[in-house]
Amino acid sequence: MATVNVTLSLGSTDLFAKQTLSFTETDVLSPVGDQQLIGRIKTTGSGTKDNIATKALDGTDDRAYLFLHNTSTTTGEFVDVGLCAAHGTDSVAADVFAVLGPGEFLFLPISDMQDIDLEPDTGTPVVEYILMEKA
């Protein structure tokens, strides 16, 4: 069984006038599902959704750990992240749940979806991804 270490640090000195934000969270993950992916994709462009799973996520509640990083440095190259109820089908408008601006990332234990798709608002930004099926 593999071990994956994750750490998130968030900090700000000007969010609140009377409170400084600074904390770190760590976790040790043990993904044992039959699909563990790492890769990068140059998105096709607006109007096309690019899927990242190679087969349907499965296991209890289709759970997986998802990391995405929009590597673009170009203003306006946002990437919509949508959930796919079934592998091989595109998400619909109501299924978009996250957006990554240039340089932004997310880490999310996803569930109740069989795939993820990506669609940029403009351009063809490159997205790096790690998808680890949980069980």
């Binding site: 593999a2 071990t3 994956v4 270490n5 994750v6 750490t7 998130l8 640090s9 968030l10 900090g11 700000s12 000007d14 969010l15 609140f16 409170q19 934000l21 904390f23 969270e25 976790d27 993904p31 563990q36 790492i38 509640d61 759970r63 990391f67 990083h69 946002f78 919509d80 959930l83 408008a93 109501a94 299924d95 978009v96 749940f97 996250a98 957006v99 990554l100 601006g101 340089g103 932004e104 990332f105 997310l106 880490f107 999310l108 234990p109 996803i110 569930s111 109740d112 979806m113 608002d121 790096e128 790690i130 680890m132």
Partner: protein, 129 residues
């Protein structure tokens, strides 16, 4: 309300996820917070019914619309937390000790409930204009 900056760093590493390569990645970003809903670290006891974690409806018009950075952690030792969007579509379940950080979009609210019992969720929500 003046703009603020949220500095975010995420690291992921593994020496045995893959047989031929080690995984080691760190990404940092300085995020501009300019929305009108700025909620600091909060803890809330959940139930098996959905509760919104945002105080007011997300309403920003840029960067995909209704965007906010969301951090959440399941602080319970045994029970799961379930997260859903404004259409009750489940997109995440946090096992005990797990956390998430992501920029939500296209939803007026983020909802959370427990799989059973009353586990506590810790969260932070920072809206973008």
């Amino acid at each position: 309300m003046a703009n603020a900056t949220l500095n975010a760093t995420f690291s992921i590493s593994s020496s045995d996820l893959f047989g031929v390569v080690s995984l080691s990645k760190t990404v940092t970003d300085a995020l501009t917070i300019d929305g009108d809903n700025r909620q600091g670290l909060t803890t809330m006891v959940t139930s098996t019914s959905y509760t919104d974690i945002n105080v007011e409806a997300l309403s920003g018009t840029t960067q995909g619309t209704k965007k906010a950075y969301v951090y959440a952690k399941n602080t319970d030792a045994t029970l799961d937390l379930i997260f859903a969007d404004d259409g009750d579509q489940i997109f995440s379940k946090l096992a005990p000790g797990e956390f998430l950080f992501y920029p939500t979009t296209d939803n007026t609210k983020i909802q959370v409930k427990s799989s059973s019992g009353t586990p506590t969720v810790e969260f932070l929500l920072l809206e973008v204009d």
